[in-house]
């Protein structure tokens, strides 16, 4: 197991990157301007790519360098660029009618992080790895998941919902780099491309939303009930 034999410098580097990613997820949660989401997401993807490279360096997994480069290129550059194109076409700059205030969602997100910490500490204790980077990785993974779901529920703009899903995936990717760096390479590459296909499909659906429904706000999508 990689994380049981980490040097303190490596552990603190991983901790720093993980917490910075979590902070960026909160920036995405609390901002109202769609461009800010995208930039925060791009920065977060770059940070996770750096984490991949660091894990590859300290754990001697050379294939992770390739993953790091692919992550940086696809998740960090290509996805935000595609989404930025969609945003420009949308003519929507920010969330107009919020379901929950940005500040309240930040507080709820903080509680979600505390819950994730409790679960992760419990698991870490049963495994005997409590107090190491493992607990931090589990916490950040679970809390980014919860924050992603929170973004899906409190946001009603289509782009914000797509970004919420991408934050979910980012969280899983972050956790898997620290916890299971030895996962088969094929799997990681395929998941990465899968993400690209997902965003392309979302882009197409958003096109349909604009042209046939006339709005991308899910507050207006209320035709199907019962």
């Amino acid at each position: 197991m990689l994380v049981a034999h980490l040097s303190p410098l490596a552990a603190s580097l991983f901790s720093l990157i993980a917490i910075a990613s979590l902070l960026l997820a909160f920036v995405m949660l609390g901002s109202r301007w769609l461009r800010h989401y995208l930039y925060a997401f791009a920065l977060e993807s770059w940070l996770i790519a750096a984490l991949s490279a660091a894990v590859g360096y300290y754990g001697q997994y050379p294939e992770l360098y390739l993953i790091a480069v692919l992550t940086a290129v696809f998740r960090g550059c290509l996805l935000p660029y595609l989404l930025l194109r969609i945003v420009r076409r949308l003519n929507v700059a920010r969330e107009l009618h919020v379901v929950v205030q940005a500040s309240s969602s930040l507080v709820i997100g903080a509680f979600a992080v505390v819950f994730a910490l409790v679960v992760a500490t419990h698991i870490g204790d049963t495994l005997g790895l409590g107090g190491t980077v493992v607990v931090l990785a589990l916490t950040v993974m679970l809390s980014m998941k919860l924050i992603g779901f929170l973004m899906l529920t409190v946001r009603h703009e289509a782009i914000s919902q797509i970004l919420g899903l991408l934050v979910l995936e980012n969280g899983i990717f972050l956790g898997s780099q620290i916890l299971v760096p030895g996962m088969p390479l094929l799997l990681e590459i395929v998941i990465l491309f899968d993400l690209l296909i997902i965003v392309a499909c979302f882009g197409l659906l958003v096109q349909y939303l604009i042209s046939h429904v006339g709005t991308t706000s899910s507050l207006k999508l209320r035709r199907l009930v019962g």
């Binding site: 049963t126 899906l152 996962m183 899968d194 499909c201 939303l209 046939h212 999508l221 019962g226």
Partner: protein
């Protein structure tokens, strides 16, 4: 032999997709799709018998064919064939000849992805297959480009993608738990995970299983994660709805059952099965509530799908030979029956030009043959004898009364009665209430042969399987159930 058959199943729809996209002619597209579905069906028909000789692993252990997978592939192939026949008649009614090649390409792609899912040996690849089914079917649901369809597709893709990401988290946690036992690099196949399960940490296993259950449960349509199901199934064209209900939900169930077998190998106590049973019972309850007050004909069928997935979850949750056999037989019968119901609903929608139950009247008088078929299907789907669903539901009830969760069996029986009454009440409205004298009858377009034949093809086996449960199939189910219980310690006999 098995390898060749699997390759045929994969290549036939793929070739159809490529040729359809190259040729772009509607009649050719219809024919290619139909041919692909016939070839896939014939190949899948031979698979269950061949898989009994043991699990066949191919292509660097990424592809597996075991008895359970073979059965699910057969069910998917059946509905793919029936839906392809029906689609020819139905899509011609839409009178949009230019978009037909795109439809059939997507349709063949959808069929391909549902056929491929149960073949996946690696848990990660299985996840990717499920994700691909979501993407392809979302575009099929949005095919008609009406605002409701696009809203349904959007809701579908958001809810299901969110749910499946939970399943991905569960998969990663399973891999992590396994890495303590098997080292950092290993192939995450079902058999390997099952072998290592007894030594994995129980807390991590439980968390991972719950995540996978909720994640793939979203895709299966278990309440409370079912919210996308009524919209997606009701807004897509009828052949797509049949394929969604009949093939996709089964493919997602494969994941839940396989992960259940993995965690059962670690003897975790009653909690995993209990959660599955609770989800199944809650799905039945939600479906019953919404069926009582339903106004849309296809949404009614969609909630019926929720109900039957709940029953299947109950069957797998009760476990044992009876439970698993009942659930698997239910899978086949539900596939046939739901296809029949969606075909009838699609034809009625096209004829009466409405989705509202209140506006469809006098079906029995206007469509004698198709109407009779549809009514028989309605009686069947609510679980009445002598049709197949009665036999499977009865078996599941028996399994439940024997196991520890007797309350679930009682709840299931009660809710089935409620659903029987409510569902058939809607059909009574449609069939036996005459149109008011002052309203002129809506122009009823006749149902073509292309649409009627698959309904016959679905009903007859349903009746046969209800009256006669072949001994061979019982033994087949016994082999599957045996493979799913943790007492079989031999790795590699498959699930």
């Amino acid at each position: 032999m098995v390898g060749a058959l699997l390759l045929t199943i994969v290549l036939a729809p793929s070739a159809a997709i490529v040729l359809i996209l190259l040729a772009r002619r509607p009649r050719l597209a219809e024919g290619l799709n139909l041919a692909a579905s016939v070839i896939a069906f014939l190949a899948a028909l031979a698979l269950p018998a061949l898989s009994l000789t043991g699990a066949h692993v191919y292509w660097a252990s990424y592809i597996i064919l075991d008895p359970f997978g073979a059965w699910v592939i057969l069910c998917s192939a059946i509905v793919y064939l029936l839906a392809s026949i029906y689609a020819i008649g139905y899509m011609r009614l839409l009178e949009e000849e230019d978009s037909l090649p795109r439809f059939y390409a997507l349709f063949a792609g959808f069929g391909l992805t549902t056929l491929v899912g149960p073949m996946m040996n690696s848990a990660g690849l299985y996840w990717i297959a499920i994700e691909l089914t979501t993407l392809v079917s979302a575009f099929l649901v949005a095919f008609e480009r009406a605002p409701e369809s696009i809203e349904a597709a959007w809701k579908y893709i958001i809810v299901v993608s969110g749910g499946i990401s939970l399943a991905l988290l569960g998969t990663v946690l399973f891999y992590w738990a396994g890495s303590f036992v098997l080292g950092p690099h290993y192939d995450m196949t079902w058999a390997v995970l099952r072998g290592a399960a007894p030594q994995m940490n129980p807390a991590v296993l439980l968390l991972a299983f719950l995540l996978v259950l909720v994640g793939y449960g979203t895709k299966v349509g278990l309440a409370p994660m079912h919210t996308w199901l009524p919209d997606a199934h009701s807004e897509g064209p009828a052949p797509v709805s049949a394929l969604l209900s009949g093939a996709l939900l089964n493919t997602a169930m494969v994941g839940i059952v396989r992960y259940l077998a993995i965690i059962e190998a670690a003897h975790p106590g009653p909690l995993p099965r209990l959660v599955l049973v609770v989800l199944g019972a809650f799905s039945l309850f939600v479906a019953a509530m919404f069926i009582v007050r339903q106004r849309g004909i296809k949404r009614l069928m969609a909630y019926s799908s929720v109900e039957h997935m709940g029953i299947m979850a109950l069957g797998f949750g009760f476990g044992g030979v009876l439970g698993v056999a009942g659930a698997l037989y239910h899978m086949l019968n539900h596939t046939l029956n739901k296809s029949l119901m969606f075909f009838g609903a699609g034809s009625m929608m096209r004829s009466y030009q409405t989705k509202d139950i209140g506006a469809i009247r006098d079906v029995g008088r206007r469509f004698p043959v198709v109407g009779a078929l549809w009514l028989a299907g309605a009686v069947a789907i609510t679980g009445a004898p002598p049709f197949g669903l009665f036999a499977s539901e009865f078996t599941i009830l028996r399994a439940g009364l024997r196991g520890p969760q007797v309350w679930a069996a009682i709840v299931m029986a009660l809710l089935l009665i409620v659903i029987f009454i409510a569902f058939l009440n809607h059909f009574r409205e449609m069939y036996f209430t005459p149109t008011p004298a002052e309203a002129e009858p809506a122009p009823a377009r006749p149902v073509g042969a292309w649409c009627a034949v698959p309904m016959w093809l679905a009903l007859v086996p349903l009746l046969v399987f209800g009256l006669w449960w072949p001994e061979a199939i019982w033994q087949y189910f016994g082999a599957i159930a045996h493979g799913l219980t943790p007492s079989s310690g031999v790795i590699g006999t498959g699930l």
